[in-house]
């Protein structure tokens, strides 16, 4: 009986094991649901950046812009006019949310790479951080290096 109660209890809490995909939705032409393997098929890039403690690490993953581009988000030559009023809401497993603007991510606007990171110093991101997090070397305070990403939604700022 106690076991059944424990199992019911565990199921009733938010399931921690079922969070290994990212959905890309909103102002896209193609909704995506990406697994770790899917992310691994995108061109891989590395960036060096300092963590909260000031220690430098090598982060590997794919440029967020590449993933958004594959979902048909208005980047590059299409990032003009009203499309500059679009924003990216990234949500973590704990419901934490941060916002980037498309221009902060687009390589035609910035030489900074906002990385959808899967590996740090050659190892997969540890539990509690991974499997996916953002690494943005341009942010001095890493509060937008959102961990345990579960979804990315493109929105349009209302007039």
């Amino acid at each position: 009986m106690k076991n059944i109660l424990t199992i019911t209890f565990i199921i009733a809490c938010i399931d921690l094991s079922a969070q290994s995909t990212i959905t890309v939705s909103g102002e896209v032409t193609k909704q995506l649901k990406l697994t770790q393997q899917d992310i691994g098929k995108y061109p891989q890039v590395e960036v060096k950046a300092k963590d909260r403690e000031g220690k430098e690490h090598t982060f590997k993953g794919t440029a967020l812009a590449t993933v958004l581009d594959s979902a048909g988000v208005t980047l590059g030559k299409n990032l003009r006019g009203e499309n500059l009023a679009k924003y990216v809401v990234i949500t973590a497993a704990d419901n934490y949310q941060v916002v980037y603007s498309l221009a902060e991510i687009d390589p035609e606007f910035t030489s900074n790479t906002v990385l959808l990171c899967t590996h740090v110093d050659g190892n997969p991101l540890p539990k509690g951080e991974g499997p996916f997090r953002i690494v943005n070397p341009a942010d001095k305070r890493p509060a937008r290096w959102i961990r345990e990403i579960v979804s990315i939604r493109i929105g349009f700022a209302k007039p």
């Binding site: 009733a12 938010i14 921690l16 419901n95 961990r147």
Partner: protein, 316 residues
């Protein structure tokens, strides 16, 4: 003449059927909330929702209402570890405060339900809570003298159904705004914290890292974390700390009887596991620091809120 007539007709049809309810809250709370387009808050809807919140006919044996487990004097909790429903059995989780639910999007300790309207259905129909289908509730209310007229005022016709019941209750719950504690007065520069409260606030913001999840004027961010409690593998809501001194016992299962037990947990007794939130401070707090944090937490009590006559049982 025709123009005047047209203007009159226009005025008549453009008049709202009922009066919008103006939500009043401090600017520093922000407006990150959603009111469903099909359930705008009106004075008539709130008045009906308040009646329904205290209505025991909504339970299978006419003994329980929303207010049975959400008592205003305890900031809409019930001061018990678990609550007892219409069938006499205890609930699985501790009753949560309803203060500032306007800013909550995912409900229950585990955040499984989106929106107040969906949330309200669960306790009304759960066998361990009010234990009655919305269909039966609608029939019982239809047979009363007062309710058909109140539903007409709120929704434009005398029809009573589950959708309207949950909408009215949600409207009332969205008005349960707590924003006049000593802490609010401190933020508005109208109250000076005592030395102990001030020291407690510093521990709360820095060494304790409490503010990471409970920061900001609302004292919660809608997050879900594992806080290192024995035998818990999943995550639970970061609840508001407003009125925390009157909402004992604490945690999803009410395991801690008072704030000093809570501070003992966070201040050195977190059970480590791979699921524990990385944001929890692992620093031990001294006895003095714990006392100061509790002094600070006591400034979050909003006596105006727990005595506000607009939120009390309308029949009393």
């Amino acid at each position: 003449m025709r123009a005047v007539l047209l203007a009159l007709i226009f005025t008549f049809t453009a008049l709202p059927r009922n009066e919008p309810y103006e939500l009043k809250y401090p600017a520093n709370f922000g407006s990150r909330f959603t009111i469903p387009a099909d359930n705008p808050i009106t004075k008539e809807g709130v008045a009906l929702g308040r009646m329904l919140f205290y209505e025991e006919r909504l339970s299978s044996n006419n003994t329980r209402s929303c207010a049975s487990c959400h008592k205003q004097e305890f900031a809409f909790t019930d001061n018990q570890r678990f609550s007892f429903g219409a069938d006499g059995t205890p609930t699985n989780r501790n009753s949560m405060s309803l203060a500032n639910v306007l800013w909550v999007n995912k409900f229950f300790w585990d955040g499984r339900t989106e929106g107040l309207e969906q949330q309200a259905i669960v306790p009304m129909t759960d066998p361990h809570e009010m234990n009655q289908s919305l269909g039966t509730s609608s029939k019982k209310l239809t047979q009363t003298k007062v309710y058909p007229a109140l539903f007409e005022k709120a929704f434009g016709s005398r029809e009573i159904n589950g959708d309207r019941i949950t909408k009215a209750i949600s409207q009332f719950e969205r008005t349960l705004i707590s924003a006049n504690s000593k802490y609010d007065q401190y933020l508005n520069k109208e109250y000076k914290l005592t030395e102990s409260e001030q020291r407690g606030l510093v521990v709360f913001d820095t060494k304790g890292n409490c503010a990471h999840c409970h920061g900001g004027p609302k004292t919660f961010i809608e997050l879900f974390h594992n806080n290192g409690l024995d035998s818990v593998q999943g995550r639970f809501r970061v609840p508001t700390l407003r009125n925390i001194s009157v909402t004992a016992p604490y945690m999803h299962d009410g395991r801690f009887k008072d704030l000093s037990e809570v501070l003992n947990h966070y201040g050195g007794h977190i059970i480590e596991s791979e699921n524990v939130s990385p944001f929890l401070s692992r620093l031990s707090l001294t006895e003095d620091e714990k006392k100061d944090v509790i002094s600070f937490l006591n400034t979050l009590t909003d006596t105006e809120f727990i005595n506000n006559k607009n939120f009390s049982d309308p029949d009393l």
